[in-house]
Amino acid sequence: MGITMAEFLQFFFSGLTVGAIYALVAIGFTLIYNASDVINFAQGEFVMLGGMITVFLGYAGLPLPLAAVIAVPVTAAIGFALYRFAIAAAREATAVTLIIITIGASIFIRGAAEIAFDKRFHSLPPLFGSNPIRVGGATILPQSLVVLGGALIILVLLWAFIDRTLFGKAVIAISANRTAARLVGIDTRMIVGVCFALAAGIGAVAGILVTPITLTSYNIGTLLALKGFAAAMLGGIGSATGAVVGGVLLGLFEALAAGYISASYKDAVAFVVIVAVLIAMPQGLLGKAKIERV
């Protein structure tokens, strides 16, 4: 039995769906990295919070759309608090110290979720039912299209926000040179705080969109942070396009590896590819070479 087109399409669809989620996590990494030079390992927890808060507000009797609309700003506020009370408080700390702070934050958030929610898996009903759509012999879930569409809308909105508003220009100025940005009167603390909130909000939306497909529980964040980080590095850290490309590619590698090579080695294949790419292109696919000043 050779490789059929239908089979390939099936793996491609599932890879694309997962890749879209990785891309959203990676774009959160990139946003925070550009604004503050912090690699935020708590990014995956935002995805968890988005899904879990929606689920539990739903259990509490709220209509799900309202629950989702509340979950996003709540998660964004948690992202802002992470910056305000942990990252900003430790300013002037080295990059590794800041990474450990975000890891501490991710343990803390997971611990809080364990108490506030529970340790079981939860799901949400898909937006447009669960009748699979047939495409070229393969099937795709309507919710996968929701994930892809949602990711696309978020990315376009984010691009417009960064590219077309005064706020976005301030973010770009900060990522170019923080001191210079402060000197021309930009409130860097506020702007960076908002970037944390935005990244958290994007993570929350990703979590809500994907919960009907992959389920959610208090501890899904670690693996997502790891994958999102890998995706951002694959694309080239700091590059928004790179984050999206890296995320989608990582999702596709995994799905194709799971389909054609071995399901239990899919993560291994993904990481082998990432390491190979980085060895060939040490700045990632779309990253810029940094010149060290001596």
Binding site: A93, S264, Y265, F271, V275, P282, E292
Partner: protein, 324 residues
């Protein structure tokens, strides 16, 4: 006569810059006086075992300035070497232990050459990939490793004397840590150590000064892999059981956290960082459900308020030199 001998010893230690290890050795000898049960020996042994791994990683991170998020992988190699060697290949435990260290060195040598050309966060993700890869192999090759459920580790014997009790492991791990610390101090103060610190400050400047950057980085990577592998073997032997968790991503992160919490570039810091992260979860089990929330909070607070790490920050406050 004996006074003279003692003075001579002090002079020797001073010349070898090992005098600052004497308080550490004293702690190792005096600590058991406060132990009231085997449980204390066990926890203290775990502290020293993880301190060995943290010390190895600290050589790489604190002195050469290279991040690794994959050192759990080397812990895994050391651990599975002492598990698989006797169980599947008929190799005696002590010999398996040495083989594990050699294997770790070889793997580090092979992997380090291409990976260490990467810098900063790119190096972090490449090492992370390496560690995850090994954990996946340990999980999937169930015929050899028992898969996700893990496998039993046969207890070793030294000249027909079984190494079983927690107290035995306390002495083995503590003395190993002291030896490792002495070797590390020696390395740091050698020309190689100076070259590594030059690389830490600026790779380009180091290269201009004639340092073979690639070779030095590779060397310290191999050395740190061996330290971590030894710790992994001890960890497997003291537990008598091993699962792929020994080499997972969380383990690698834990090792990095120990180094940074205790203080980068500080030998004593590696021990303190290990003590915090080994003892804290044991103590926090009192808080039941609140265990993780407390752990996260403490890790964050320590890093916010003692941002250079516990030992260097305190040393700066008290103007001490012992911390290095």
């Amino acid at each position: 006569m004996s006074v003279l001998a003692a003075l001579e010893l002090v002079g020797l230690l001073r010349r070898q810059r090992l005098i600052s290890l004497v308080p550490l050795a004293a702690i190792v000898v005096l600590l058991p006086l406060s132990f009231s049960s085997a449980y204390y020996y066990r926890v203290a042994a775990l502290v020293f075992i993880f301190a060995i791994a943290a010390l190895g990683l600290n050589l790489l991170m604190g002195f050469a300035g290279q991040v690794s998020l994959g050192h759990g992988g080397f812990m895994g190699i050391g651990a599975y070497a002492v598990a698989i060697g006797p169980a599947h290949l008929g190799i005696p435990p002590l010999f398996s232990f040495v083989l594990g260290a050699i294997l770790s060195a070889l793997v580090a040598f092979a992997v380090g050459r291409p990976i260490l050309r990467l810098k900063g966060h790119y190096l972090a993700v490449a090492t992370l990939g390496f560690g995850v890869l090994l954990a996946i192999v340990f999980t999937n090759e169930a015929n050899w490793t028992g898969g996700p459920d893990g496998m039993a580790v046969r207890g070793p014997t030294l000249m027909n004397w079984p190494l079983r009790s927690a107290a035995t492991w306390y002495w083995i791990s503590a003395v190993s840590f002291l030896v490792g610390a002495a070797l590390a101090r020696n390395l740091v103060d050698s020309p190689t150590g100076r070259a590594l610190r030059a690389i830490h400050d600026s790779e380009i400047a180091a290269r201009v000064l004639g340092v073979d950057v690639a070779q030095k980085k590779l060397m310290i990577f191999v050395v740190s892999a061996v330290y971590t592998s030894v710790a992994g073997s001890y960890f497997a032997l003291i537990n008598g059981y091993i699962t792929p968790d020994v080499s997972g991503f969380l383990r690698s992160i834990e090792l990095v956290a120990m180094v940074v919490l205790g203080g980068m570039g500080s030998v004593v810091g590696s021990l303190v960082g290990s003590a915090v992260l080994v003892i804290l979860p044991q103590a926090l089990t009192l808080f039941h459900d609140y265990e993780h929330i407390m752990l996260g909070l403490i890790v964050m607070s320590v890093m916010v308020f003692l941002r250079r790490g516990i030992v260097p920050t305190l040393a700066a406050v008290f103007g001490q030199r012992w911390a290095r």
